[in-house]
Structure formats: structure tokens, C-alpha cells
Point group: C2
């Protein structure tokens, strides 16, 4: 488990987290907006994700339907944990501070975070 998903592979995962199950062609179609990969490339990524047990397949006639085998939440938790550990010693507040300083915090975002924290303290 947890074989490490590369950047390119991640783009494929996102499509499937949003609209699984899909066959290769449809995944390719949906990626066309953001990436200029050929169908062959997308198929390579799909195979690799299947080997990594990040995707499961289900035969539909002579094609496959692909669907995520790991939860997006788990992936996201893992990845953000990793980054926060590496860059901020595992503490979230320095990340927030960093965002604050680089002006990447919208007022709505601030409000939402505050609401979250209120909820937690309760």
C-alpha cells in the first residue's frame, strides 16, 4: 500500500475521484482540458496506478472501468502531513503564518478557518 503517486499520476487520480468509474478514453477526454497528453500516456499512467494499487479495474466488455482504490481523504491527509512534517516540524500554525505573510489568505478563508477552530474547541 501507499506506493507513492507521482504528480502526473495524481492528475489522473483527481479525475477519477470526481467521476469514477471511467474507461481510459473518457479519462483522456476529461484530462484534455488541463494536460496535453496523448491517449497512450494516459494509459501508461493508468497501468502504473493499477500496479501501485491506487486504482482498481472492472472489466466492461473488452475495456476496463477504472475507479480509485484509495480514498482521496487518505491521500490528501498523507500528503499534507508529509509536507507539514518536512517543512514545519509537524505543526500547522507555521504554515498558516506563512500563508498569512504571503497574502494568500482571503477573508473568506480566514472566516472559514475560524469557524473550524470554534467548532473544535466546543
Amino acid at each position: 500500500m501507499a506506493e507513492r503517486i507521482s504528480d502526473a499520476e495524481h492528475a489522473v487520480m483527481e479525475v477519477l475521484w470526481d467521476h469514477a468509474p471511467l474507461d481510459a478514453q473518457s479519462i483522456y477526454d476529461r484530462l484534455s482540458g488541463s494536460q496535453s497528453w496523448t491517449l497512450a500516456t494516459v494509459k501508461t499512467l493508468l497501468s502504473r496506478l493499477v500496479s501501485k494499487d491506487a486504482l482498481a479495474t472492472e472489466a466492461q466488455g473488452r475495456k476496463f472501468l477504472y475507479r480509485p482504490a484509495i480514498e482521496r481523504t487518505a491521500y490528501v491527509a498523507h500528503e499534507s502531513g508529509r509536507l507539514v512534517d518536512r517543512l514545519f516540524g509537524g505543526k500547522l500554525s507555521p504554515l498558516v503564518a506563512q500563508f498569512a505573510e504571503s497574502e494568500k489568505l482571503s477573508p473568506e478563508d480566514i472566516a472559514e478557518i475560524e469557524a473550524l477552530l470554534q467548532e473544535l474547541k466546543k
Copy 2:
């Protein structure tokens, strides 16, 4: 600029952000605690970082002193921006929510974040 620093390279950068300038041997020494790399490996990483313009060197006799050529803040901002963009659509609150759910938020951390936000609203 911004040649993408790998995980292993990042470990080297951290040492230098903390104690620059240092020569290769001292960097190796300081890394010995956390990594089991040989001196040769550390030297390879140093060379690569120099090519990537992430480190600058200054000759000291027949050895080099290495020091960061990019600010840790800039690096950290870039990396965390990247992750937040990829995984949370550029918004920080979902990341905080994710941390909250996985119980990775200590009370102190919460307090610090709240303080930060108070500061911002002022």
C-alpha cells in the same frame, strides 16, 4: 531559477539554512544523525544543489563553504503553495479542516493559529 529541489537535497538545504556556511564534511557530520548517507552521497547532493543555483559556494583554501542561495521562506512558500493548490484548490481552510479531522491539531497549535488570525483581522 527554481530548479526543483528533491527530498534528499532538501535535507541538505535544511542543514545549511540552519548553520551556513559549512564545508562538505561538516554538513555530512550534521546529517549523520538523521540520514545514513556516505560523504560521497552528500557531496553529490551538494553539487546538484549548486548546479540548480540553490547553493552558492565560497572557496576556503582547497575546500568550499556552502551557503543557501535561496531563502528558506521563499522555498517553503513555494512548496506549500504548490501543495495547497494541487490538493485544496488554493484554499487553506480545507487543509486545516483535514488536519482537524485527523486529530493532528494540538490545543497549542489551535491557539497559535487563532492568535495569528486575530492579528490579521486587526
